[in-house]
Protein backbone atom coordinates (compact mmCIF):
# COMPACT_ATOMS: atom_id res chain seq x y z
CA UNK A 1 0.00 0.00 0.00
CA UNK A 2 2.82 2.36 0.94
CA UNK A 3 4.73 1.67 -2.30
CA UNK A 4 1.60 2.35 -4.27
CA UNK A 5 1.14 5.72 -2.57
CA UNK A 6 4.80 6.56 -3.11
CA UNK A 7 4.45 5.83 -6.83
CA UNK A 8 1.44 8.15 -7.07
CA UNK A 9 3.35 10.84 -5.17
CA UNK A 10 6.39 10.49 -7.47
CA UNK A 11 4.21 10.58 -10.57
CA UNK A 12 2.48 13.73 -9.32
CA UNK A 13 5.82 15.36 -8.58
CA UNK A 14 7.13 14.46 -12.03
CA UNK A 15 3.96 15.84 -13.63
CA UNK A 16 4.20 19.14 -11.73
CA UNK A 17 7.91 19.40 -12.59
CA UNK A 18 7.22 18.79 -16.30
CA UNK A 19 4.41 21.37 -16.35
CA UNK A 20 6.73 23.88 -14.66
CA UNK A 21 9.57 23.19 -17.12
CA UNK A 22 7.19 23.40 -20.06
CA UNK A 23 5.84 26.74 -18.81
CA UNK A 24 9.35 28.18 -18.42
CA UNK A 25 10.28 26.80 -21.85
CA UNK A 26 7.22 28.51 -23.35
CA UNK A 27 8.00 31.80 -21.60
CA UNK A 28 11.55 31.63 -22.97
CA UNK A 29 10.18 31.07 -26.48
CA UNK A 30 7.68 33.93 -26.19
CA UNK A 31 10.36 36.30 -24.87
CA UNK A 32 12.68 35.79 -27.84
CA UNK A 33 10.01 35.39 -30.55
CA UNK A 34 9.91 39.08 -31.64
CA UNK A 35 13.70 39.13 -31.99
CA UNK A 36 13.69 35.92 -34.04
CA UNK A 37 10.97 37.30 -36.33
CA UNK A 38 13.01 40.44 -36.94
CA UNK A 39 16.47 38.88 -37.19
CA UNK A 40 15.68 35.51 -38.76
CA UNK A 41 12.50 35.68 -40.82
CA UNK A 42 14.05 33.34 -43.39
CA UNK A 43 14.38 30.55 -40.83
CA UNK A 44 10.70 30.89 -39.90
CA UNK A 45 9.60 30.83 -43.55
CA UNK A 46 11.65 27.67 -44.09
CA UNK A 47 9.92 26.02 -41.14
CA UNK A 48 6.46 27.09 -42.37
CA UNK A 49 7.37 25.21 -45.54
CA UNK A 50 8.62 22.16 -43.57
CA UNK A 51 5.61 21.98 -41.25
CA UNK A 52 2.95 23.32 -43.60
CA UNK A 53 3.69 22.58 -47.24
CA UNK A 54 5.22 19.20 -46.43
CA UNK A 55 2.02 18.22 -44.58
CA UNK A 56 -0.23 19.00 -47.54
CA UNK A 57 -0.47 15.45 -48.88
CA UNK A 58 -1.79 13.99 -45.63
CA UNK A 59 -4.11 16.99 -45.07
CA UNK A 60 -5.59 16.86 -48.58
CA UNK A 61 -6.06 13.08 -48.60
CA UNK A 62 -7.52 12.81 -45.12
CA UNK A 63 -9.65 15.95 -45.60
CA UNK A 64 -11.21 14.56 -48.77
CA UNK A 65 -12.14 11.21 -47.24
CA UNK A 66 -13.34 12.70 -43.94
CA UNK A 67 -15.63 14.95 -46.00
CA UNK A 68 -16.85 12.03 -48.08
CA UNK A 69 -17.66 9.98 -44.98
CA UNK A 70 -19.40 13.00 -43.49
CA UNK A 71 -21.42 13.32 -46.69
CA UNK A 72 -22.49 9.69 -46.54
CA UNK A 73 -23.31 9.65 -42.82
CA UNK A 74 -24.96 13.06 -42.98
CA UNK A 75 -27.15 12.08 -45.90
CA UNK A 76 -28.12 8.79 -44.24
CA UNK A 77 -29.16 10.56 -41.01
CA UNK A 78 -30.79 13.66 -42.52
CA UNK A 79 -32.93 11.77 -45.04
CA UNK A 80 -34.69 10.05 -42.12
CA UNK A 81 -36.11 13.47 -41.28
CA UNK A 82 -36.51 14.56 -44.88
CA UNK A 83 -33.82 17.16 -44.35
CA UNK A 84 -31.13 15.91 -46.74
CA UNK A 85 -30.90 19.37 -48.33
CA UNK A 86 -29.33 20.58 -45.07
CA UNK A 87 -26.31 18.37 -45.80
CA UNK A 88 -24.17 21.38 -46.73
CA UNK A 89 -24.91 23.10 -43.43
CA UNK A 90 -24.42 19.89 -41.46
CA UNK A 91 -21.06 19.08 -43.05
CA UNK A 92 -19.74 22.63 -42.90
CA UNK A 93 -20.68 23.28 -39.28
CA UNK A 94 -19.23 19.92 -38.21
CA UNK A 95 -16.00 20.61 -40.05
CA UNK A 96 -15.47 24.29 -39.40
CA UNK A 97 -16.32 24.23 -35.70
CA UNK A 98 -15.02 20.84 -34.67
CA UNK A 99 -13.58 18.22 -37.01
CA UNK A 100 -11.37 20.54 -39.03
CA UNK A 101 -9.26 22.01 -36.21
CA UNK A 102 -9.16 18.79 -34.15
CA UNK A 103 -8.32 16.38 -36.95
CA UNK A 104 -5.79 18.79 -38.47
CA UNK A 105 -4.08 19.08 -35.07
CA UNK A 106 -3.94 15.29 -34.72
CA UNK A 107 -2.61 14.87 -38.28
CA UNK A 108 -0.15 17.72 -37.67
CA UNK A 109 1.12 15.94 -34.54
CA UNK A 110 1.57 12.73 -36.52
CA UNK A 111 3.33 14.30 -39.49
CA UNK A 112 5.04 17.58 -38.53
CA UNK A 113 5.15 17.13 -34.72
CA UNK A 114 7.02 13.84 -34.88
CA UNK A 115 9.40 15.29 -37.49
CA UNK A 116 10.15 18.28 -35.24
CA UNK A 117 10.66 16.15 -32.12
CA UNK A 118 12.89 13.60 -33.80
CA UNK A 119 14.93 16.26 -35.66
CA UNK A 120 15.65 18.25 -32.49
CA UNK A 121 16.19 15.05 -30.48
CA UNK A 122 18.72 13.78 -33.01
CA UNK A 123 20.47 17.15 -32.97
CA UNK A 124 20.89 16.71 -29.23
CA UNK A 125 22.03 13.09 -29.57
CA UNK A 126 24.68 14.02 -32.16
CA UNK A 127 26.01 16.97 -30.10
CA UNK A 128 24.78 19.57 -32.62
CA UNK A 129 22.99 21.51 -29.88
CA UNK A 130 26.06 21.28 -27.63
CA UNK A 131 28.19 22.51 -30.54
CA UNK A 132 25.88 25.52 -30.92
CA UNK A 133 26.15 26.24 -27.20
CA UNK A 134 29.93 26.07 -27.59
CA UNK A 135 29.75 28.54 -30.49
CA UNK A 136 27.84 30.89 -28.15
CA UNK A 137 24.62 30.37 -30.09
CA UNK A 138 21.46 29.72 -28.07
CA UNK A 139 19.77 26.61 -29.57
CA UNK A 140 16.38 27.77 -28.29
CA UNK A 141 16.60 30.92 -30.40
CA UNK A 142 18.29 29.34 -33.42
CA UNK A 143 16.54 25.95 -33.58
CA UNK A 144 13.46 25.83 -31.35
CA UNK A 145 11.77 29.20 -31.98
CA UNK A 146 11.76 29.09 -35.82
CA UNK A 147 10.32 25.56 -35.72
CA UNK A 148 7.72 26.54 -33.13
CA UNK A 149 6.65 29.60 -35.15
CA UNK A 150 6.58 27.57 -38.35
CA UNK A 151 4.05 25.20 -36.77
CA UNK A 152 1.98 28.00 -35.26
CA UNK A 153 1.72 29.80 -38.62
CA UNK A 154 1.06 26.63 -40.63
CA UNK A 155 -1.71 25.13 -38.46
CA UNK A 156 -4.59 27.59 -39.19
CA UNK A 157 -3.85 27.40 -42.92
CA UNK A 158 -3.75 23.60 -42.83
CA UNK A 159 -7.07 23.56 -40.94
CA UNK A 160 -8.61 25.92 -43.52
CA UNK A 161 -7.38 23.74 -46.40
CA UNK A 162 -8.62 20.61 -44.60
CA UNK A 163 -12.07 22.21 -44.23
CA UNK A 164 -12.27 23.27 -47.88
CA UNK A 165 -11.27 19.86 -49.20
CA UNK A 166 -13.59 18.07 -46.77
CA UNK A 167 -16.58 20.26 -47.77
CA UNK A 168 -15.75 19.42 -51.36
CA UNK A 169 -15.70 15.70 -50.40
CA UNK A 170 -19.13 16.01 -48.77
CA UNK A 171 -20.37 17.84 -51.87
CA UNK A 172 -19.14 15.06 -54.19
CA UNK A 173 -20.88 12.34 -52.17
CA UNK A 174 -24.03 14.32 -51.32
CA UNK A 175 -24.69 16.02 -54.65
CA UNK A 176 -23.02 13.77 -57.21
CA UNK A 177 -23.68 10.33 -55.70
CA UNK A 178 -26.76 10.80 -53.50
CA UNK A 179 -28.64 13.34 -55.56
CA UNK A 180 -28.92 16.23 -53.10
CA UNK A 181 -29.82 19.43 -54.92
CA UNK A 182 -26.66 21.42 -55.66
CA UNK A 183 -28.31 24.81 -55.15
CA UNK A 184 -29.80 23.72 -51.83
CA UNK A 185 -26.43 22.37 -50.67
CA UNK A 186 -24.65 25.69 -51.17
CA UNK A 187 -27.49 28.09 -50.33
CA UNK A 188 -28.35 26.36 -47.04
CA UNK A 189 -24.70 26.43 -46.11
CA UNK A 190 -24.46 30.10 -46.99
CA UNK A 191 -27.57 30.95 -45.00
CA UNK A 192 -26.79 28.98 -41.84
CA UNK A 193 -23.04 29.20 -41.33
CA UNK A 194 -22.18 32.45 -39.54
CA UNK A 195 -18.84 34.24 -39.30
CA UNK A 196 -18.86 33.42 -35.59
CA UNK A 197 -18.86 29.69 -36.45
CA UNK A 198 -15.82 30.11 -38.66
CA UNK A 199 -14.13 32.28 -36.02
CA UNK A 200 -14.65 29.50 -33.48
CA UNK A 201 -12.71 27.12 -35.72
CA UNK A 202 -9.99 29.66 -36.37
CA UNK A 203 -9.51 30.28 -32.63
CA UNK A 204 -9.27 26.55 -32.02
CA UNK A 205 -6.78 25.96 -34.82
CA UNK A 206 -4.52 28.77 -33.54
CA UNK A 207 -4.60 27.38 -29.98
CA UNK A 208 -4.00 23.83 -31.22
CA UNK A 209 -1.16 25.10 -33.41
CA UNK A 210 0.56 26.62 -30.38
CA UNK A 211 0.01 23.48 -28.27
CA UNK A 212 1.05 20.94 -30.92
CA UNK A 213 4.17 22.90 -31.91
CA UNK A 214 5.16 23.61 -28.30
CA UNK A 215 4.83 19.97 -27.24
CA UNK A 216 6.79 18.76 -30.27
CA UNK A 217 9.76 21.12 -29.80
CA UNK A 218 9.73 20.57 -26.03
CA UNK A 219 9.77 16.78 -26.34
CA UNK A 220 12.61 16.94 -28.86
CA UNK A 221 14.63 19.46 -26.87
CA UNK A 222 14.36 17.52 -23.60
CA UNK A 223 14.77 14.04 -25.11
CA UNK A 224 17.36 11.63 -23.72
CA UNK A 225 20.27 11.73 -26.24
CA UNK A 226 20.01 8.08 -27.32
CA UNK A 227 18.17 6.25 -30.10
CA UNK A 228 15.65 4.98 -27.56
CA UNK A 229 15.30 8.44 -26.01
CA UNK A 230 14.54 10.08 -29.36
CA UNK A 231 12.03 7.31 -30.15
CA UNK A 232 10.28 7.85 -26.82
CA UNK A 233 10.19 11.61 -27.35
CA UNK A 234 8.60 11.12 -30.76
CA UNK A 235 5.94 8.81 -29.33
CA UNK A 236 5.28 11.16 -26.41
CA UNK A 237 4.77 14.02 -28.88
CA UNK A 238 1.84 12.24 -30.52
CA UNK A 239 0.31 10.95 -27.28
CA UNK A 240 0.56 14.19 -25.29
CA UNK A 241 -0.62 16.31 -28.23
CA UNK A 242 -3.65 14.08 -28.85
CA UNK A 243 -4.68 14.11 -25.19
CA UNK A 244 -4.05 17.84 -24.73
CA UNK A 245 -5.86 18.82 -27.94
CA UNK A 246 -8.96 16.78 -27.07
CA UNK A 247 -9.12 18.14 -23.50
CA UNK A 248 -8.58 21.69 -24.75
CA UNK A 249 -11.18 21.17 -27.45
CA UNK A 250 -13.85 20.49 -24.85
CA UNK A 251 -12.75 23.46 -22.74
CA UNK A 252 -12.66 25.82 -25.73
CA UNK A 253 -16.02 24.61 -27.02
CA UNK A 254 -17.58 25.13 -23.60
CA UNK A 255 -16.06 28.62 -23.38
CA UNK A 256 -16.95 29.67 -26.93
CA UNK A 257 -20.52 28.36 -26.82
CA UNK A 258 -20.89 30.09 -23.46
Amino acid sequence: MKDWLCEIRDAMKAFVRTVGELTLFFINIVMYTPRTLVRRPGLVVKQVFNSGTMSMTIILTCGLFVGMVLGLQGFDTLQRFGAEEALGTFATLSLVKELGPVLTALLFAGRAGTALASEIGLMRATDQLAAMEMMAVDPVRRIVIPRFLGGVVAMPFLAAIFNMVAIFGAFIVGVTFMGVDEGAFWSQMHANVAVADVAQGVIKSVVFGVVASLLAVYQGYTSVPTAEGVGRATTRTVVTTAITVLILDYMLTAALIG
Partner: protein, 272 residues
Amino acid sequence: MKKDCPKSIVEIRDVVFSRDAKPIFDGLNINIPRGKITAVMGPSGTGKTTLLRLITGQLTPDKGHICVDGKDVSTMSREQLFAMRRRMGMLFQNGALLTDLDVFENVAFPLREHTDLPEKLIRHIVLTKLHAVGLRGTWRMMPSELSGGMARRVALARSMAMDPDIIIYDEPLAGLDPISMGVILRLIKRLNDALGITSIVVSHDVQEIGSIADCSYLMADGKVVASGAPEELSKDGNPIVQQFMAGMAEGPVPFHYPGPDYEEQLLGRVVE
Protein backbone atom coordinates in the same frame (compact mmCIF):
# COMPACT_ATOMS: atom_id res chain seq x y z
CA MET B 1 34.31 33.30 -3.20
CA LYS B 2 35.64 34.61 -6.47
CA LYS B 3 39.18 33.72 -7.24
CA ASP B 4 41.35 35.28 -9.92
CA CYS B 5 44.07 33.23 -11.51
CA PRO B 6 45.86 35.22 -14.22
CA LYS B 7 49.03 33.14 -14.75
CA SER B 8 47.71 30.32 -16.89
CA ILE B 9 44.98 30.73 -19.48
CA VAL B 10 43.02 27.93 -17.79
CA GLU B 11 43.51 27.12 -14.13
CA ILE B 12 41.64 24.37 -12.33
CA ARG B 13 41.92 24.48 -8.53
CA ASP B 14 40.70 21.83 -6.05
CA VAL B 15 37.74 20.88 -8.20
CA VAL B 16 35.28 18.39 -6.76
CA PHE B 17 32.55 17.10 -9.05
CA SER B 18 30.17 14.18 -8.83
CA ARG B 19 27.31 12.98 -10.98
CA ASP B 20 24.39 10.90 -9.66
CA ALA B 21 26.26 10.54 -6.35
CA LYS B 22 29.24 9.02 -8.23
CA PRO B 23 32.41 11.03 -7.59
CA ILE B 24 34.22 12.02 -10.81
CA PHE B 25 36.81 14.51 -9.52
CA ASP B 26 38.09 14.82 -5.99
CA GLY B 27 40.50 17.75 -5.67
CA LEU B 28 41.58 18.12 -9.29
CA ASN B 29 44.34 20.65 -10.04
CA ILE B 30 45.45 21.49 -13.58
CA ASN B 31 47.18 24.49 -15.18
CA ILE B 32 46.89 25.02 -18.91
CA PRO B 33 49.71 27.31 -20.11
CA ARG B 34 48.94 29.97 -22.71
CA GLY B 35 49.98 29.29 -26.30
CA LYS B 36 50.96 25.65 -25.67
CA ILE B 37 49.51 22.25 -26.54
CA THR B 38 48.39 20.54 -23.35
CA ALA B 39 47.35 16.90 -23.43
CA VAL B 40 44.91 15.55 -20.86
CA MET B 41 45.08 11.78 -20.81
CA GLY B 42 43.68 8.99 -18.75
CA PRO B 43 41.88 5.66 -18.90
CA SER B 44 38.29 5.54 -20.16
CA GLY B 45 35.76 6.76 -17.63
CA THR B 46 38.12 9.08 -15.78
CA GLY B 47 36.06 12.13 -16.73
CA LYS B 48 38.14 13.69 -19.52
CA THR B 49 35.11 14.88 -21.48
CA THR B 50 33.49 16.00 -18.22
CA LEU B 51 36.59 18.11 -17.59
CA LEU B 52 36.11 19.85 -20.95
CA ARG B 53 32.47 20.51 -20.13
CA LEU B 54 33.55 22.04 -16.81
CA ILE B 55 36.12 24.27 -18.53
CA THR B 56 33.54 25.50 -21.05
CA GLY B 57 30.91 26.13 -18.38
CA GLN B 58 28.49 23.45 -19.59
CA LEU B 59 28.79 21.91 -16.12
CA THR B 60 29.44 23.54 -12.75
CA PRO B 61 31.81 22.02 -10.17
CA ASP B 62 30.48 21.09 -6.72
CA LYS B 63 33.54 22.73 -5.15
CA GLY B 64 36.69 24.49 -6.32
CA HIS B 65 37.43 27.00 -9.07
CA ILE B 66 37.87 26.87 -12.82
CA CYS B 67 39.31 30.08 -14.19
CA VAL B 68 39.59 30.90 -17.88
CA ASP B 69 41.77 33.91 -18.60
CA GLY B 70 41.47 35.02 -14.99
CA LYS B 71 37.70 34.72 -14.67
CA ASP B 72 35.91 32.08 -12.61
CA VAL B 73 33.66 30.16 -15.00
CA SER B 74 31.23 28.98 -12.31
CA THR B 75 30.30 32.56 -11.36
CA MET B 76 29.70 33.73 -14.93
CA SER B 77 26.24 34.70 -16.19
CA ARG B 78 24.95 33.09 -19.40
CA GLU B 79 25.94 36.21 -21.38
CA GLN B 80 29.44 36.13 -19.91
CA LEU B 81 29.73 32.42 -20.69
CA PHE B 82 28.72 33.07 -24.29
CA ALA B 83 31.24 35.92 -24.51
CA MET B 84 33.95 33.55 -23.23
CA ARG B 85 32.92 30.80 -25.67
CA ARG B 86 33.24 33.20 -28.61
CA ARG B 87 36.96 33.14 -27.86
CA MET B 88 36.99 29.33 -27.75
CA GLY B 89 36.69 26.65 -30.38
CA MET B 90 35.76 23.07 -29.61
CA LEU B 91 36.19 19.99 -31.72
CA PHE B 92 33.70 17.33 -30.68
CA GLN B 93 34.43 13.59 -30.93
CA ASN B 94 32.02 13.17 -33.85
CA GLY B 95 32.54 16.61 -35.36
CA ALA B 96 28.96 17.67 -34.50
CA LEU B 97 28.47 19.35 -37.87
CA LEU B 98 25.00 20.78 -38.45
CA THR B 99 23.47 18.18 -40.73
CA ASP B 100 21.03 20.52 -42.50
CA LEU B 101 23.83 22.86 -43.66
CA ASP B 102 26.53 22.15 -46.25
CA VAL B 103 30.24 22.35 -45.48
CA PHE B 104 30.52 26.03 -46.43
CA GLU B 105 27.55 27.06 -44.30
CA ASN B 106 28.82 24.99 -41.36
CA VAL B 107 32.10 26.89 -41.32
CA ALA B 108 30.29 30.19 -41.96
CA PHE B 109 27.80 29.49 -39.14
CA PRO B 110 29.61 31.27 -36.25
CA LEU B 111 30.53 34.18 -38.53
CA ARG B 112 26.93 34.68 -39.61
CA GLU B 113 25.71 34.39 -36.00
CA HIS B 114 28.19 36.75 -34.39
CA THR B 115 29.32 39.21 -37.03
CA ASP B 116 27.85 41.49 -39.68
CA LEU B 117 30.67 40.84 -42.11
CA PRO B 118 29.85 41.27 -45.81
CA GLU B 119 29.18 38.08 -47.75
CA LYS B 120 32.39 38.50 -49.77
CA LEU B 121 34.51 38.55 -46.62
CA ILE B 122 32.67 35.59 -45.09
CA ARG B 123 33.32 33.63 -48.28
CA HIS B 124 37.00 34.58 -48.13
CA ILE B 125 37.36 33.52 -44.46
CA VAL B 126 35.48 30.24 -44.95
CA LEU B 127 37.52 29.24 -47.99
CA THR B 128 40.75 30.15 -46.16
CA LYS B 129 39.81 27.99 -43.16
CA LEU B 130 38.73 25.10 -45.37
CA HIS B 131 41.98 25.40 -47.32
CA ALA B 132 43.93 25.21 -44.04
CA VAL B 133 42.39 21.80 -43.30
CA GLY B 134 42.77 20.69 -46.92
CA LEU B 135 39.05 20.49 -47.68
CA ARG B 136 38.33 23.59 -49.77
CA GLY B 137 37.07 21.32 -52.52
CA THR B 138 34.25 19.98 -50.33
CA TRP B 139 32.60 23.38 -49.80
CA ARG B 140 29.28 22.37 -51.38
CA MET B 141 29.12 18.85 -49.90
CA MET B 142 26.70 17.90 -47.14
CA PRO B 143 28.04 16.43 -43.85
CA SER B 144 26.50 13.05 -44.74
CA GLU B 145 28.78 12.88 -47.79
CA LEU B 146 31.98 13.23 -45.70
CA SER B 147 34.04 10.49 -44.10
CA GLY B 148 34.60 10.59 -40.32
CA GLY B 149 38.07 12.11 -40.71
CA MET B 150 36.85 14.72 -43.20
CA ALA B 151 33.92 15.67 -40.95
CA ARG B 152 36.35 16.26 -38.09
CA ARG B 153 38.58 18.43 -40.31
CA VAL B 154 35.56 20.51 -41.37
CA ALA B 155 34.60 20.81 -37.69
CA LEU B 156 38.17 21.97 -37.01
CA ALA B 157 37.82 24.62 -39.74
CA ARG B 158 34.56 25.74 -38.11
CA SER B 159 36.16 25.92 -34.66
CA MET B 160 38.86 28.20 -36.14
CA ALA B 161 36.41 30.47 -37.96
CA MET B 162 36.27 33.08 -35.21
CA ASP B 163 40.06 32.98 -34.65
CA PRO B 164 39.75 31.72 -31.05
CA ASP B 165 42.35 32.02 -28.30
CA ILE B 166 41.75 28.43 -27.17
CA ILE B 167 40.83 25.32 -29.13
CA ILE B 168 39.63 22.28 -27.22
CA TYR B 169 39.89 18.88 -28.88
CA ASP B 170 37.78 16.03 -27.50
CA GLU B 171 39.34 12.73 -28.60
CA PRO B 172 40.40 14.12 -32.00
CA LEU B 173 42.06 10.85 -33.06
CA ALA B 174 39.45 8.31 -31.94
CA GLY B 175 38.50 5.90 -34.70
CA LEU B 176 40.67 7.49 -37.38
CA ASP B 177 42.86 5.63 -39.87
CA PRO B 178 46.64 6.31 -39.65
CA ILE B 179 46.57 8.81 -42.55
CA SER B 180 43.71 10.88 -41.10
CA MET B 181 45.35 10.63 -37.68
CA GLY B 182 48.61 12.04 -39.04
CA VAL B 183 46.75 14.82 -40.85
CA ILE B 184 44.84 15.86 -37.73
CA LEU B 185 47.98 15.73 -35.57
CA ARG B 186 49.92 17.93 -38.00
CA LEU B 187 46.98 20.33 -38.20
CA ILE B 188 46.80 20.72 -34.43
CA LYS B 189 50.54 21.38 -34.25
CA ARG B 190 50.56 23.74 -37.23
CA LEU B 191 47.59 25.75 -36.00
CA ASN B 192 49.14 26.07 -32.59
CA ASP B 193 52.49 27.22 -33.97
CA ALA B 194 51.12 29.51 -36.68
CA LEU B 195 48.31 31.21 -34.75
CA GLY B 196 49.74 31.04 -31.22
CA ILE B 197 46.52 29.62 -29.84
CA THR B 198 46.24 27.44 -26.75
CA SER B 199 45.30 23.86 -27.48
CA ILE B 200 43.78 21.46 -24.97
CA VAL B 201 43.72 17.91 -26.30
CA VAL B 202 41.83 15.19 -24.47
CA SER B 203 42.90 11.78 -25.70
CA HIS B 204 44.14 8.35 -24.75
CA ASP B 205 46.34 7.97 -27.81
CA VAL B 206 49.50 8.28 -25.73
CA GLN B 207 52.21 8.06 -28.40
CA GLU B 208 50.46 10.21 -31.01
CA ILE B 209 49.41 13.05 -28.72
CA GLY B 210 52.71 12.82 -26.83
CA SER B 211 54.52 13.60 -30.09
CA ILE B 212 52.96 17.10 -30.36
CA ALA B 213 52.11 18.02 -26.73
CA ASP B 214 54.20 20.55 -24.81
CA CYS B 215 52.90 19.24 -21.50
CA SER B 216 50.66 16.40 -20.40
CA TYR B 217 48.42 15.54 -17.49
CA LEU B 218 47.47 11.99 -16.65
CA MET B 219 44.27 11.59 -14.67
CA ALA B 220 43.10 8.62 -12.64
CA ASP B 221 40.74 8.20 -9.68
CA GLY B 222 39.49 11.78 -10.01
CA LYS B 223 42.92 13.36 -9.65
CA VAL B 224 46.03 14.17 -11.62
CA VAL B 225 48.50 11.34 -10.98
CA ALA B 226 51.31 12.68 -13.15
CA SER B 227 52.14 15.77 -15.15
CA GLY B 228 54.97 17.21 -17.19
CA ALA B 229 56.48 16.83 -20.64
CA PRO B 230 55.44 13.56 -22.37
CA GLU B 231 58.97 12.09 -22.02
CA GLU B 232 58.93 12.84 -18.27
CA LEU B 233 55.63 10.97 -17.97
CA SER B 234 57.06 7.84 -19.54
CA LYS B 235 59.87 7.87 -16.95
CA ASP B 236 57.48 8.35 -14.01
CA GLY B 237 57.67 5.59 -11.43
CA ASN B 238 53.99 5.66 -10.52
CA PRO B 239 52.49 2.21 -11.35
CA ILE B 240 49.32 3.80 -12.77
CA VAL B 241 51.42 5.96 -15.11
CA GLN B 242 53.52 2.98 -16.15
CA GLN B 243 50.45 0.87 -16.82
CA PHE B 244 48.79 3.59 -18.90
CA MET B 245 51.89 4.56 -20.87
CA ALA B 246 52.76 0.93 -21.63
CA GLY B 247 49.13 -0.09 -22.25
CA MET B 248 49.25 -3.05 -19.85
CA ALA B 249 46.06 -4.94 -18.97
CA GLU B 250 47.28 -5.76 -15.44
CA GLY B 251 48.02 -3.04 -12.93
CA PRO B 252 46.40 -0.64 -10.50
CA VAL B 253 43.73 0.31 -13.08
CA PRO B 254 41.59 -2.85 -13.33
CA PHE B 255 40.59 -4.12 -16.77
CA HIS B 256 37.41 -5.68 -15.37
CA TYR B 257 34.56 -3.63 -14.03
CA PRO B 258 33.81 -4.76 -10.44
CA GLY B 259 31.40 -7.70 -10.41
CA PRO B 260 30.66 -11.01 -8.67
CA ASP B 261 33.11 -13.91 -8.77
CA TYR B 262 33.49 -15.18 -12.36
CA GLU B 263 33.31 -18.90 -11.53
CA GLU B 264 30.40 -18.46 -9.14
CA GLN B 265 28.45 -16.49 -11.75
CA LEU B 266 29.15 -19.03 -14.51
CA LEU B 267 27.92 -21.83 -12.22
CA GLY B 268 24.76 -19.86 -11.52
CA ARG B 269 25.43 -19.47 -7.81
CA VAL B 270 25.05 -15.71 -7.90
CA VAL B 271 21.62 -14.25 -7.21
CA GLU B 272 20.92 -11.92 -10.17
